[in-house]
C-alpha cells in the first residue's frame, strides 16, 4: 500500500467523523436556503408602503394623467402604491416651488416629487427627486406612467381621442419562454435561482475546503509533527495526500447534500401532485449534466485553490500570519463571486466568455454559464484545459514552496520570499 493512501485515509477519517463536519453539512444548506428565503421575503415585502408624492408639470396637461395612471397601481396588500398629494401644472416660480418641495421631502412630509420638464415632449428627461435611494425599485412604475402619459398627449395632439386611455395603453405583459432540451418552459427566475445556487455552493465549498487544507497543513507545522512526517514520506506525497483527503471529505459532503436534496425534491413533488394535480408550479430544471459539470469544476477549482492554500499554510507558523498571507488567494475567489452578475446579465457576451476562461474564475463562472445557457462545447473544453494546465503549474509551484516552508519557522515570509523558495533545490 503506498504511503499516500495512509495520509488520505487519516485526513479523511479525522475530518468526517467530527462534530464540525456534521454541523457544516447541516448548517451550510440551511444558511443558503435561509439567505434565499430572506431575499424572497424582502423582495415581496419591501415596497409595501404607499409613497406620498407631489407632481410638478412644467409642460402642462400631463400631471393629472400621470396621477390617474399612478394611483391605479396597487401594492400586494391592496393599498395604493402612490398617493399624489399635490399636482402643480406650469408653476409661476419653478425655483421656489422646487426648493419648497425639497424641504418637504427632507422633512419626511413627502416621499419625493416628480418633476416634468417643459421640453418633455421634445425628449427632455423628467426627474423623480427622493430622499431614499432605494426608490429606484419603483422607478419602472413611474417611468411607465410618465411614458404612457406622454404618448397619450402626443396622440391627442395628432387628433386621436384618448377617452378610454386604459384600453389604448394596456400592458402587453411579455412572458419569457426559455428553450430547454425538452421543450419550452416559462422562465420565472428558476434558471437564475439554479445558477446562483450552484455558484454560491461552489464559491462556499472552494473557500471552505481551501481554508481547511491550509489549516490542516498549518496544524502539522504548529504541532511540530511535520518533521516526523517528512522523515517518513516525501513532502509531495504528504501534500497530495492532504489535498486528496480533504477533497474526499468535500465530495462526501456533496454526496450527502445531493442525496438529501433528491429525496426532498421527490417528496415535495409527490406532495405537490396530490395537493394540486393540475399545477406544474415552479418547475426547477436541474439536469444531471449540470451537476456533473459542477462536480468536475469543483474538483478542478479545488485542486487549484487548495494547493495555493496549502502552500500558504506551509509558509507560515501561526494562524494570524496565515490570515494575512491568504488574502490574495481568497480575493481571487471573492472576485469570481462579484463577477457573476456580469455573466448573469449576458452569459454569451465576449466579457462573460473571457471571464469564464480564466482558470481562477472558471470553476464558478463557467458553471454559471452552463446553468444559464449551455455554451459551445469548445468553450467548455478550452476552459477545462486551461484550468487543468494552470492547476498543474500552480500545484507544482505550491509543492516547491511547501517543501521549503514546512520546516521554516519564525517570521512570516513575504511574497517575494515565497517566489525565492520556488528556486530552492
Amino acid at each position: 500500500m503506498p504511503k499516500l493512501w495512509f495520509v488520505i485515509k487519516r485526513e479523511y477519517l479525522t475530518r468526517v467523523f467530527t462534530k464540525g463536519f456534521i454541523i457544516s453539512t447541516v448548517a451550510i444548506p440551511a444558511f443558503i436556503i435561509g439567505i434565499i428565503a430572506f431575499q424572497f421575503f424582502v423582495a415581496e415585502k419591501q415596497p409595501a408602503r404607499t409613497q406620498t408624492i407631489a407632481i410638478v408639470d412644467e409642460a402642462g396637461q400631463l400631471g393629472n394623467l400621470i396621477e390617474s395612471l399612478l394611483t391605479k397601481q396597487k401594492l400586494p396588500d391592496g393599498k395604493p402604491a402612490f398617493a399624489v398629494v399635490q399636482i402643480q401644472e406650469q408653476p409661476r416660480d419653478p425655483q421656489e416651488l422646487r426648493a419648497h418641495l425639497t424641504t418637504l421631502t427632507r422633512a419626511h412630509r413627502l416621499s419625493g416629487y416628480l418633476w416634468i420638464p417643459r421640453g418633455i415632449l421634445a425628449g427632455e428627461k423628467p426627474q423623480f427627486v427622493v430622499r431614499n435611494p432605494g426608490a429606484f425599485m419603483t422607478l419602472e412604475t413611474i417611468n411607465h406612467a410618465v411614458t404612457n402619459a406622454v404618448i397619450a398627449r402626443l396622440l391627442q395632439s395628432k387628433g386621436v381621442s384618448v377617452q378610454n386611455l386604459s384600453t389604448l395603453l394596456h400592458n402587453a405583459d411579455v412572458r419569457l419562454i426559455h428553450l430547454t432540451s425538452k421543450g419550452e418552459s416559462e422562465e420565472k427566475g428558476q434558471i437564475y435561482a439554479v445558477a446562483i445556487g450552484m455558484a454560491t455552493i461552489l464559491y462556499g465549498s472552494l473557500l471552505m475546503y481551501g481554508i481547511t487544507t491550509m489549516r490542516s497543513v498549518l496544524e502539522e507545522k504548529t504541532t511540530r509533527i511535520m518533521e516526523i512526517l517528512i522523515s517518513s514520506i516525501q513532502p509531495f506525497e504528504l501534500l497530495a495526500g492532504k489535498i486528496l483527503g480533504v477533497a474526499a471529505v468535500g465530495l462526501t459532503q456533496f454526496l450527502i447534500w445531493a442525496v438529501s436534496a433528491g429525496l426532498l425534491a421527490a417528496y415535495g413533488l409527490s406532495m405537490a401532485r396530490t395537493m394540486r394535480p393540475s399545477d406544474s408550479g415552479f418547475n426547477v430544471h436541474l439536469p444531471p449534466v449540470l451537476l456533473a459539470f459542477g462536480v468536475v469544476y469543483f474538483i478542478g477549482g479545488y485542486f487549484l485553490f487548495a494547493s495555493m492554500y496549502a502552500a500558504i499554510g506551509s509558509a507560515v507558523s501561526s494562524e494570524q500570519d496565515a490570515q494575512q498571507l491568504q488574502m490574495p488567494v481568497t480575493l481571487l475567489l471573492v472576485a469570481s463571486f462579484f463577477l457573476f452578475s456580469i455573466v448573469m446579465s449576458d452569459p454569451n457576451s465576449p466579457v462573460s466568455i473571457a471571464l469564464s476562461m480564466i482558470p481562477f474564475f472558471s470553476p464558478i463562472l463557467m458553471v454559471m454559464r452552463i446553468a444559464l445557457q449551455t455554451p459551445p462545447l469548445w468553450q467548455i473544453a478550452l476552459s477545462l484545459v486551461l484550468l487543468a494546465l494552470t492547476t498543474l503549474g500552480v500545484t507544482y509551484a505550491s509543492a516547491r514552496i511547501y517543501r521549503v516552508g514546512v520546516l521554516m519557522y519564525g517570521k512570516r515570509p513575504s511574497f517575494i520570499e515565497l517566489l525565492r523558495w520556488l528556486r530552492y533545490s
Binding site: 500500500m1 504511503k3 495512509f6 495520509v7 487519516r10 479525522t14 496544524e219 502539522e220 504541532t223 511540530r224 509533527i225 511535520m226 518533521e227 516526523i228 512526517l229 517528512i230 522523515s231 517518513s232 514520506i233 516525501q234 520546516l407 533545490s425
Partner: protein, 307 residues
C-alpha cells in the same frame, strides 16, 4: 575516495547546509559503524540537529554525499530509520493508538501488527491505559513516551534520537536509557545528539564533537580518551578547599559540589595534591586518576582551534 567501510550504517562525505547567510553545517564528514551507539555532541547551535535532519532526508545537503546502509536515501531506506526529532509533536486531537498506527503505516508496518506492538510498548512504558485517549489529554512526559514509541515501533535498524532526554524526569530518562541500551545490545545502530556531554559520554562507544558546524573531533570514545591519557584527578572531599590552590600543578578545576575534577599540568605529580590535602586535615573520600571528561576535551580542542 570513500571514507567509510561497507559495513558502516551512515557515511557522510563533506556535507554542508546553509540557511540564507548562515552556514549551519560545513563540509562535515563522518562514518558511523553498524551497531554503534554514536553520540553527536556539541553546544547549542553547533549544527547537530541540522546534521541529523540531513541523515533523515528531512533536509537535503547543499553539497556532499550521504549514504545510509550503503545506499542513497530512498523511501525504503527511510523505513529502516527511526527518528525522534528535537521538536516533539503529535496530532493533539487523535487518539494515542491511532497516531502510533498512522506513523507506523508511513514506515510500512501493517495496521494490526502496529496495533499489537503499540500495545506492548505502551504497557512497557506504563501508559497502556491511555491508548484510547486523545494525545491532548496526556501530560508532556507521557507525550514524550508516545513519541519515543513512534520512533521505535517499526523496529528500525538505525535509530536517531535528537536530545532524547530533554524534558524527561530522571525516572523516565532512565527507562528510555535502558531501552536504548537494550536495542544497542540487539544490534541497532543508535545516533543520539546532546549538548550535555557528561550525560552521554558514559553511554556512547563512539562520538563526534562538532562546533559551529564543523567537526572538532571524532572516533571511538576509548581511543580518544586514551590519547589524552589519565591527566585528570577526580577528588571527593570534605573540608577546606585551599589544598586545590596549586597553580603549579593544577591547570584547571571543574567543581561539582563536593566532587572536583582537576586537570593536571603536563608532568605534574598528583601525589602533591593528596599530600597538601592531608597536611590541611581535609578528609578525602575518593581520589582517582582518570581520563579527562569529554567536556574538557571539547573545550581544549575548541580553544586550540581559536588560538
Amino acid at each position: 575516495m570513500s571514507l567509510g567501510a561497507p559495513s558502516d550504517a551512515v557515511v557522510a562525505e563533506g556535507i554542508s547546509k546553509r540557511f540564507d547567510s548562515v552556514t549551519a553545517v560545513s563540509k562535515l564528514s563522518l562514518s558511523i559503524r553498524q551497531g554503534a551507539l554514536f553520540g553527536l555532541l556539541g553546544p547549542n547551535g553547533a549544527g547537530k540537529s541540522t546534521t541529523l535532519r540531513m541523515i533523515m532526508r528531512v533536509l537535503v545537503p547543499d553539497e556532499g554525499r550521504l549514504r545510509v546502509f550503503g545506499q542513497p536515501l530512498t523511501s525504503s531506506v527511510q523505513n529502516m530509520i527511526g527518528y525522534l526529532p528535537e521538536e516533539r509533536g503529535l496530532y493533539p486531537r487523535m487518539k494515542v493508538m491511532e497516531v502510533l498506527v498512522f506513523l507506523a503505516s508511513l514506515k510500512g508496518v501493517p495496521e494490526s501488527e502496529a496495533r499489537q506492538r503499540g500495545r506492548v510498548w505502551l504497557d512497557r512504558l506504563e501508559i497502556g491505559a491511555w491508548a484510547e485517549r486523545k494525545v491532548i489529554d496526556l501530560s508532556k512526559g507521557m507525550q514524550q513516551k508516545v513519541q519515543f514509541i513512534a520512533a521505535v515501533l517499526h523496529r528500525p535498524q538505525l535509530l536517531i534520537l535528537d536530545e532524547p532526554f530533554a524534558g524527561l524526569d530522571p525516572i523516565n530518562a532512565a527507562i528510555i536509557k535502558d531501552i536504548m541500551l537494550e536495542m544497542h545490545d540487539r544490534g541497532t545502530t543508535i545516533i543520539l545528539s546532546s549538548h550535555r556531554m557528561e550525560q552521554v559520554e558514559m553511554m556512547c562507544d563512539s562520538i563526534c564533537l562538532i562546533n559551529a558546524g564543523q567537526k572538532v573531533l571524532d572516533g571511538e570514545l576509548q581511543t580518544i580518551k586514551r590519547q589524552y591519557g589519565k591527566n585528570t584527578v577526580r577528588i571527593e572531599y570534605c573540608g577546606d578547599e585551599s589544598f586545590l590552590d596549586q597553580p603549579a600543578i593544577i591547570e584547571r578545576i571543574n567543581r561539582h559540589g563536593a566532587l572536583v575534577e582537576a586537570k593536571l599540568r603536563t608532568g605534574a605529580d598528583p601525589q602533591e595534591i593528596l599530600k597538601a590535602a592531608v597536611e590541611r586535615g581535609v578528609r578525602i573520600r575518593r581520589f582517582e586518576l582518570v581520563e579527562p571528561p569529554l567536556n574538557d576535551i571539547f573545550i581544549e580542542k575548541v580553544s586550540e582551534g581559536h588560538a
